[in-house]
């Protein structure tokens, strides 16, 4: 595996399966009373969040602590238009703090790539979501969830499974990472969205495109609903919330069109009433809560593999790992 995880496209099939298999082993831990491994004891992981994201940040933090890493939460609140302290200066600060890995969430597409390519810091860079570019650990937890339901077992991939991703593909880092990873794992991806919410050039992506959700549902093994922000209608991406949910929203009637075994996924946070109704969100086929739990296992696996955890040893950590917080208002 590479030293960084910036794009899901960086992962070979073997890399991806190694992460999923490792995550399965680590997931066994959560069923036990003592959940900590000493694997990353003495290693420092920084959560560098330029954008608020409680769920992703919490997920990484839990994963880091279960591996006994020292955790520094570094929140740099800046807007996407004002520059504030430069990414470079922040990176140099983290380097000085001895960061072994930096988990970065940034509103600018490409910020993690910049960090990884620069000589500003030497630790591993893990992309926790950059702008409208990628969110590779989300794709990994999605693939992990799909594999459990559709082709469970270590070493198994998603060959031949049909995944339909519905919603704001244009602005979705989840969609971009998923198309890379799912294709690598052999799945067939279909995007469904109004044409305004699909990027130019998508005809060259390794996926199918449809504007008609109803025709795709019967040929779906996993359905992923993407969040659609209401503000998009102000920029004329679609006329009204009602029209969007009529044409592209998931509801009980549509759920009945899915094959028996199909699951409904959502990366969260859901906008109920927009892309998904309560009936679907609360149904047993919806894996949203499961995805959250899987997120921790997958992120543990990524950290473990990138930081080259010395021994995959059992047992509790004997010292309590530290957590420091640095607020860096910009």
């Amino acid at each position: 595996m590479k030293r960084h995880l910036v794009s899901a496209a960086d992962l070979s099939r073997d890399d991806a399966l190694l992460i999923l298999d490792t995550a399965e082993e680590l997931a066994q831990l959560s069923g036990r009373a003592v959940k900590k491994l000493p694997t990353l004891r003495g290693r420092t992981v920084v959560n560098l969040f330029f954008e608020d994201s409680t769920r992703t940040k919490t997920s990484f933090e839990v994963a880091e602590k279960r591996l006994s890493a020292d955790v520094i939460n570094f929140s740099a609140k800046g807007s996407s238009v004002s520059k504030g302290e430069s990414l470079k200066d922040t990176a140099l600060t983290l380097q000085a703090m001895g960061a072994d890995a930096v988990v970065i969430r940034h509103h600018a597409s490409g910020a993690p790539a910049r960090l990884a390519q620069s000589d500003w810091l030497h630790g591993s860079v893990i992309n926790a979501g950059d702008g409208t570019h990628e969110h590779p650990t989300q794709a990994l937890l999605d693939a992990f969830t799909m594999r459990r339901h559709l082709n469970a077992g270590a070493g198994n991939d998603l060959a031949g499974r049909r995944v339909t991703i519905v919603g704001d593909v244009l602005h979705s880092r989840v969609a971009r990472s998923n198309v890379h990873l799912l294709t690598t794992l052999g799945a067939q991806v279909t995007f469904v969205a109004p044409p305004t919410l699909l990027p130019i050039g998508i005809e060259n992506w390794p996926c199918e495109v449809s504007y008609d959700l109803d025709s795709v549902l019967p040929k779906t093994d996993a359905l992923m609903m993407l969040r659609v922000q209401r503000e998009r209608m102000n920029a004329a991406f679609f006329p009204t919330e009602r029209e969007y949910s009529r044409r592209y929203g998931m509801n009980g009637i549509r759920m009945a069109q899915l094959p028996e075994h199909a699951i409904v996924m959502h990366p969260g946070p859901m906008v109920r009433g927009m892309e998904i109704t309560a009936e679907v969100a609360d149904s047993p086929r919806c894996t949203v809560v499961e995805q959250v739990a899987n997120g921790v296992s997958v992120r543990m696996a990524v950290l473990y593999l990138l930081l080259g955890g010395a021994v995959f040893a059992d047992g509790p950590a004997d010292t309590a790992p530290r957590t420091d917080s640095v607020e860096n208002a910009q």
Partner: protein, 444 residues
């Protein structure tokens, strides 16, 4: 050229041996008293300095229609002095200084200031460009006539960096400057179609998740502008044309006999949006790098004359404005010192243009568009000695540390580019000699 600006040329005379004028057979040139005194083989004349130019090309001094000198206001990025030194190092003897300074060059006072700074620097003639609208805000015409009547004698007007997108304002500007043979140089960018734009909209922007700058945002403005220019019978110049579609529109306008000219930058002749995959802001520029198909169309259009001129859009930025994430980085690249090499690589070495063609697109035509009477002249006896001596056999990696410009934001760092300026002469005075800047204000 401004008669008023004439410096007395120094008294040093030069004998250039065995240089290929516009790529022709080797000849000697004798430069004295600011002019080309003699041209011939085996010239038997005395000169203070003799230059062995075997293998080198002589071109008329290059003329840039599009240079950002940043002074006044952003002297941390460039000054008129460092910018004109960079120009001289690139073989230029005249540059048009864009109006987007702080304050904006929208009054006679500011354009005269820039013009005087150019005079004092002495490395290259500086022809200020005046803003079309007050503060580049696209609301109200600037005092175009006053800028023309000033010592700076402005004839080219541009809100470059911003588009004059209001159709009525553009029409009026085109009409108004006819009174003094002016031209509006339009930065063609439909603002609504480019809100949040970060790079060319296409395959790569979709994958990278960066806001798209679609070709149609440039082409729709050019289409409107050529029609406006035709309607009011005015001259129009299109800045940094960057797409295959824009080429088609300009070609069509020219076929109608309309007075439309266009420029292309060296970087749009060489680089594509694939470079953006690195997210390195050194590739962030406006208009953005386009596709390989666009690059081919631009080269072809420059070769057949649809595009009149190569213009650098030299846009210096301090390191901190590029040493950051893509979204907040400044747009622009330095280009004066690499322009001729990029043109050799993309146009000459590919067989699309000979050196005569290079002289036409980088000197004669831009001088004519800017109405600079002392530049873009033929290389013949009696003409002002505005010349560049270029060694096309040189090969080497671009080293930004050797640049004269104050900024280092070049996309060509470490890239092997052909050719190197050996000497530049401004009215017989060497501004560059043996590849080094010559001291100004006294003979070498």
């Amino acid at each position: 050229m401004n008669e008023r600006s004439e410096r007395t040329s120094d008294t040093v005379s030069y004998l250039i041996r065995n240089a290929k004028i516009l790529g022709g057979a080797p000849q000697d040139l004798h430069l004295a008293d600011g002019v080309i005194r003699a041209i011939g083989t085996g010239l038997a004349v005395e000169a203070d300095i003799e230059i062995d130019a075997t293998g080198m090309i002589v071109l008329p001094g290059l003329v840039d229609l599009h240079t950002h000198l940043r002074e006044p206001g952003r002297e941390d990025a460039e000054t008129v002095l460092t910018g004109t030194q960079a120009a001289a190092m690139g073989g230029f003897t005249a540059v048009h200084a864009m109006a987007n300074t702080t304050p904006v060059a929208d009054t006679a006072g500011v354009v005269e200031q820039v013009w005087r700074l150019g005079q004092e620097a002495g490395y290259c003639d500086v022809q200020p460009v005046g803003a079309v609208t007050v503060g580049l805000e696209g609301k109200k015409l600037a005092e175009l006539g006053a800028m023309h009547e000033s010592a700076a004698n402005v004839r080219v007007f541009s809100d470059d960096g911003k588009c004059v997108d209001d159709a009525v304002l553009m029409r009026r500007a085109l009409e108004y400057v006819k009174a003094f043979d002016g031209v509006v140089a339009q930065h063609a960018q439909e603002p609504r179609l480019t809100e949040g734009a970060q790079m060319n909209e296409g395959q790569v922007s979709g994958e990278l998740g960066l806001g798209g700058w679609p070709a149609v945002a440039e082409e729709s403005i050019i289409a409107r502008d050529v029609l406006l220019a035709a309607h009011v019978g005015s001259r129009l110049h299109v800045c940094h044309l960057s797409t295959a579609g824009s080429v088609e529109i300009v070609r069509w306008a020219k076929s109608k006999g309309w007075d439309v000219t266009a420029e292309v930058t060296p970087h749009h002749l060489l680089l594509t949006d694939e470079m953006v995959r690195s997210y390195d802001p050194v590739y962030k520029v406006n208009p953005p790098l386009r596709t390989a198909e666009d690059v081919q169309a631009l080269r072809k259009a420059l070769a057949d004359g649809t595009i009149d001129a190569v213009a650098t859009d030299h846009a210096p930025h301090p390191a901190e404005d590029k040493d950051c994430e893509w979204a907040v980085a400044a747009m622009g690249m330095v280009g004066l010192e690499t322009a001729l090499s990029v043109v050799q690589q993309t146009m000459v070495d590919t067989g699309l243009l000979n050196w005569e063609g290079v002289a036409d697109r980088m000197s004669h035509r831009p001088a004519r568009i800017g109405r600079l009477s002392g530049h873009g002249r033929p290389v013949s006896v009696g003409e002002p000695a505005n010349l560049v001596l270029f060694d096309p056999a040189y090969r080497g990696a671009v080293n930004p540390d050797s640049f004269a410009t104050r900024s280092r934001n070049t996309p060509y760092k470490g890239m092997d580019l052909p050719g190197r300026v050996h000497a530049t002469f401004l009215r017989g005075r060497a501004t560059v000699l043996a590849g080094e800047l010559a001291e100004q204000g006294g003979p070498e």
